[in-house]
């Protein structure tokens, strides 16, 4: 495993480090939608705080709270609400981001294999046009992209490995962002006036390594996100324009340490950093470093 990580770093080492973040896209943390709990658990409440570094000098603190209800051994439902505070040269802007409603279905397990599927929606709390002092802000400062998205995916667990594929498709665009680089006083962020975003596809491979004490589980994983097309915006001449280089691949390396405090309580730390990024990242989801801590109680 060490060699694998080392080879990955050497292969991608020349690239600038940026991760596609998880404040809005949802797709980064989509594995939360795949159920890992045992049959005896009926409800789970999770709270988390994510600290991350973005483009230019932007820093984020993004807490969320999630509730999962297990209706049966096969079917569960998760609701999650995010909040985000972004701080940088434009100032500080805090606001609720999105609500995620996700259903998960676990198929009957076979020898060493467990399939599951998830389907959900993301609803924004804002139109992605938050301002400070009347100044329009780039998407990097917005707590949501202002789109209603469909999230769908499937996961396969084989032994110590988890394999996940998923898509996040914006189906209703409520984005009314009005940021123009030309009028902002900085070139750090591209114009995103009336931004329209393309879908994402995700592939994640996770290895779970439980320590002998059985309390601590380590889950290193690699996350591939492909942005399926160039995003667009309306330029100052009222013409829609593609943002060249905004499509393409992002690859993140992520390490998760999960510690079981008691039978019903878990504490988790997650660290992520990117190794491959898109050429242009107008959606404000770019992170150079992500650190998350979460606490989970089930009953």
């Amino acid at each position: 495993m060490k060699k694998l990580v080392l080879v990955a770093f050497l292969f991608f080492g020349s690239k600038t480090l940026f991760a596609q973040g998880c404040s809005d896209a949802g797709i980064c943390s989509i594995d939360k939608g795949f159920d890992r709990e045992t049959d005896s658990v009926r409800q789970v409440i999770e709270t988390a705080v994510v600290y991350s570094l973005g483009e230019a000098d932007v820093k984020y603190v993004s807490p969320y709270v999630a509730y999962t209800k297990h209706f049966s051994s096969k079917f569960s439902f998760t609701a999650r609400v995010t909040y985000s505070t972004a701080t940088g040269s434009f100032g500080t802007r805090s606001q609720f981001g999105d609500a995620f409603l996700i259903g998960n279905y676990r198929f009957k397990p076979t020898k060493q294999k467990q399939w599951s599927a998830m389907l959900g929606f993301k609803f924004p709390f804002t139109a992605s046009n938050l301002k400070i002092n009347g100044y329009s802000l780039p998407l990097d400062y917005q707590s949501s992209l202002g789109t209603i998205d469909v999230l769908a995916g499937t996961a396969l667990k084989t032994g110590n490995f988890d394999w996940q594929v998923a898509v996040q498709i914006p189906v209703v665009n409520l984005n009314r962002n009005s940021y123009f680089s030309e009028y902002s006083g900085t070139n750090d962020f591209p114009s995103t006036n009336l931004f329209e975003r393309k879908p994402d596809a995700l592939f994640r491979a996770t290895y779970s390594w439980q320590l002998p004490s059985r309390k601590l589980t380590l889950r290193p994983n690699v996350l591939f996100i492909y942005h399926l097309g160039e995003d667009t915006y309306e330029n100052i001449f009222s013409k829609r324009e593609s943002i060249a280089g905004s499509d393409g691949l992002t690859v993140n390396l992520n390490a998760v340490a999960n510690y079981r405090l008691t039978r019903n309580q878990q504490f988790e730390v997650s660290v992520a950093a990117p190794v491959v990024v898109r050429e242009v990242r107008p959606d404000g989801l770019t992170r150079s470093f992500v650190l998350g801590v979460s606490y989970q109680v089930s009953f």
Binding site: S89, G91, T92, N129, I132, S178
Partner: protein, 137 residues
């Protein structure tokens, strides 16, 4: 029940902000004393809106600027200043957010003579607030 819904909605809409270097107010654009007035027009409101004042386009040192004079308008979210080819926002140049500043620079690539109107438009809700038809001075 209504109170509960209101409280929940208020909670979800709660947000806060603090200004930074790029949002603490910039140097206001000014019209040079030797600038020549090229076009002007008085604002006329759309239904339910009150507006006063005029739009004036000046030319100075190779560039055009729009100045709003004696200007006031009903409050609205996300109001923009457009230099438009018609009295509806179909084909226009977005000059930025309507703010306390009264002067808006027109990009050099714009053929100002092709644009006969200045509009005040709420972009977020796509609602036109006021129109000033320009005439050449």
């Amino acid at each position: 029940m209504r109170t509960l819904v209101l409280i929940v909605c208020s909670f979800l809409l709660f947000g806060c902000s603090e200004e930074g270097f790029l949002t603490s107010g910039r140097l206001a654009e000014n019209i040079a004393p030797d600038a020549s007035l090229q076009y002007s027009g008085n604002f006329v409101p759309t239904a339910g809106i009150s507006v006063a004042g005029a739009a004036q386009i000046y030319f100075s040192e190779g560039s055009y600027k729009v100045q709003l004079t004696g200007f006031s308008i009903s409050n609205g979210p996300d109001l923009k200043v457009y230099l438009s080819k018609s009295d509806v926002p179909n084909n226009f140049v977005n000059l930025g957010n309507l703010s306390s500043q009264t002067v808006y620079e027109i990009p050099n690539s714009v053929a100002v003579a092709d644009y006969g109107y200045v509009l005040i438009h709420c972009q977020q809700y796509n609602h036109l607030f006021a129109v000033a038809a320009l005439t050449q001075n």
